[in-house]
Amino acid sequence: MTSPDLHPDSSSSSAADDLVLLGRVAEGDRDAFRRLYSHYHRRLHRFLMRLTRERQLTEEVINDTMMVVWQHAADFRGASRVSTWILGIAYRRALKTLERTRNTNAQDIIVAAASVPDGALLDALSQGTETHDWIDSALAKLSSEHRMVIELAYFLGLSCEEIAEIVGCPLGTVKTRMFYGRERLRQVLVLLAAPRKLAAGAVPAIGGSAG
């Protein structure tokens, strides 16, 4: 199943455009490569910032990724969408870079049993303009595995099958990561909620860091 190419900016590309551009890139067309680079820069930046959390590292991984695209465009056989192929390269490059530079951080923080009814969470998520900062802070507390699946599904709108291909694991693993990642995200949202956002008494204490 395809997902929307959700790029609100005017440089967004369709899967068909991507394929045409990639074909030209395979022939060494630098102008086509520049256009493909522009189309993918924003989404790669956003995706990789979640993974690396460092702007400079993110830019390095974007260029490493696009270098691979330039060198291997002719090897693309169309088994997946161009976007899935490029995101998969970016994911693997980022993991490799992170392994080299530091520990990939991240186990989810241990959360004391935080049970807040979805209705209260829904009300809180519907308030004000700081919601995306709240969500970003909560995502930063998740393990990279959970964070990536949520980012790929919610922000990039990818299907379970596409995510399995990008992160290189079975469908069942993606489903499990999404299930637990979603649970953790809810719990951390509650932990980080400003007192006014959720009803008094709903916010438990942070238990500490998992090993």
Binding site: M1, S3, L122, H132, W134, Y154, S159, R182, R186
Partner: protein, 105 residues
């Protein structure tokens, strides 16, 4: 008289709960989508959970002014890298040609 709706089956809530993220991001296949549609029609709990999922999707897709980056600087760096690699490849080719010419002479 309107019949009283049956209370939702908790086992069905579990099945549907695993599908809601994919339903919210619009990538669920038609069969699973029909399962979710049928269930949320009668289950308020799962309907609320779905609304939370949708808020999360919206919140994550909302533009972030502080992370938007122009591709220009990155592209310039990549062009410099491509130029350097091409120049190195040309130098290597010239060296090989020179060696072949020497050996032939």
């Amino acid at each position: 008289m309107t019949p009283t709706p049956m209370p939702p089956d908790p086992r069905q809530c579990e099945v549907v709960g695993e599908l809601l993220s994919w339903y919210a991001n619009g990538t669920l296949g038609p069969v699973d989508r029909a399962v979710v549609d049928a269930h949320i029609g009668t289950c308020e709990t799962c309907r609320t959970t779905l609304a939370v999922e949708r808020r999360l999707v919206e919140g994550m897709r909302a533009p972030r002014g502080n992370v938007e980056q122009s591709p220009h600087a990155g592209w310039q760096k990549l062009v410099a890298r491509l130029d350097a690699e091409e120049a190195a490849a040309l130098r290597e080719r010239d060296r090989r040609m020179a060696r072949i010419r020497l050996e032939a002479a």
